[in-house]
Structures are given as C-alpha cells and as structure tokens.
Symmetry: C2
Subunit: 147 residues, 2 copies
Amino acid sequence: MAANSRFAVATHILVGLGYLPEHSPDHLVEKGGWVSSDMLAESVNTNPVVVRRLLGDLKKAGLIVTQQGKSGGIRLAKPSGQITLLEIFLAVGEKSVFAFNPNPPNPKCPVSVNMFRLIEPVFRSVTQVLEQDLAQKRLSDLISGIS
Amino acid sequence: MAANSRFAVATHILVGLGYLPEHSPDHLVEKGGWVSSDMLAESVNTNPVVVRRLLGDLKKAGLIVTQQGKSGGIRLAKPSGQITLLEIFLAVGEKSVFAFNPNPPNPKCPVSVNMFRLIEPVFRSVTQVLEQDLAQKRLSDLISGIS
C-alpha cells in the first residue's frame, strides 16, 4: 500500500463500520453491530494484515472499539456525525504533504542557510489549510452518500 | 531525493536565482545575472543531475530561461514578484497529497463500490485549498526574507 493511501483506506474502513451494521444482511454483521476485520478487508479488497494495522491506529486514536471473541468485532467508538475527517487523517499519521530538502545546508551559501527558515512557514500554512478543510467534513457526510 | 521534496528543492533553486545575481560576489555570477547550475547544486547541496532535472521542469513551465555557453547560465524568466508558489508546485508535478485505495472495488460490497465516488471530492477539496494557499504566496516574499 502506498504510504499516502492510508487515509483513503482508513476512511473506507470507518465508512464500512458506520454503514454495514445497519444495512448488511443479518448473517454478515453480528448482533450488536460488531463488524469483523475480515469483512472490512473484503470491502477494502486487501490483505487482512493491512486492515488490522490501520485498525490499531484507529483504536489508539479513540475512533473505534473492539471486542474479542466469536461474537465480537469492531465498532465505531462514537456516532459518525461526531467523527471528522481530520481525526482520521491525524489517526493514521499520514506523512506531510511536502518534504524539506533532505540535504544539509551549505554554510557558504546565504540562500542555503536560510532556506529551511523560509520554507517552513509555507509548509505549516499548507498543512493548516488542509487540516481546516478536513475538520469541516464528517464521516456521516460520506456514509449518507452511499447509494 | 524523496518524491515530495521536489517542491522544496525547486523553490530553493528559484530563490537562489532571484537572490544570488544581486548579492553574490561578482566572480560567482556572470554579468547579466546568469547563474550556473553547478552553483545552484552547491546551494541545494546535492548532485548537479538532480538540479538539472528540476531545471528542465522549471524551464518547461516558463519560470526560468537558460543560455548556453561559457558566459551563459540560468535566470528567472520574470520578476520574482510575478511568480507564485503555486506555479512552482504545478511545475514540478508534485504528486497528490493523498492516494486512493490502490485495490479495485469489491463489487459485492455497497461501501466498496461507492468509496471512490465518496472520497474523490474530499481529495479535490483538499487539493483546492492547498493550491489556493500557495497561489497567495510569491517567490519575492521568500527572497526578501533572506538575512
């Protein structure tokens, strides 16, 4: 999985957790709304290991709860209207949009020694507008769009 | 070079092209303000090949002009106050912030078949706010910050 598809797949998982318990035939989702990680992996169409790794991140961020055992599974930790896409973005630790020049500055060049200080606020600003945008979008908006 | 440091390095190059001709000792920048690609590579502190590749992209985008020959080199194609960071971002073809789930949708799952349609507007919105932010920032703002 490409590093920066983690957000897309995590969002997919959470849409599944919000949608499937109420719309899936009874035999696919256990009573109580617990969804299995295998079912999520089938929906994402990927290896269950990939899904379980992301579930670990989502659990740590307080977005899902899990229950062990045969009739257990995974559930959203709160209503989907209370989960913003920003929370998902932060939960999966998506790498930054931009990376700095990986090479150390050249001390002999006035441009080089100043460059980090000049571009850091640009990156910060971009990250901020991106996060503000994601904070305005809710998981429930996506779930309600399923036809 | 990490794929997503292309924007940082291209910006560094253009800051150099805006700053060095007016501030560098005479013997480093040729008369006429032509900067050599070797000097830019020393500033970025990387292999000249990396710099030349980015220069190719910046030239194609109309942000720089080059002149062959011993007294030639590279120059900004227009004043730095007329170059936005968005133009640099678009010139280097930085990959998108987010990637879609690389796996094909599972036709048996109503979440899976809808997911691309649901998340595509989210990605588009994020790209738009990011580009709007970069469009408001000018190369000259960075150059004037060099101490």
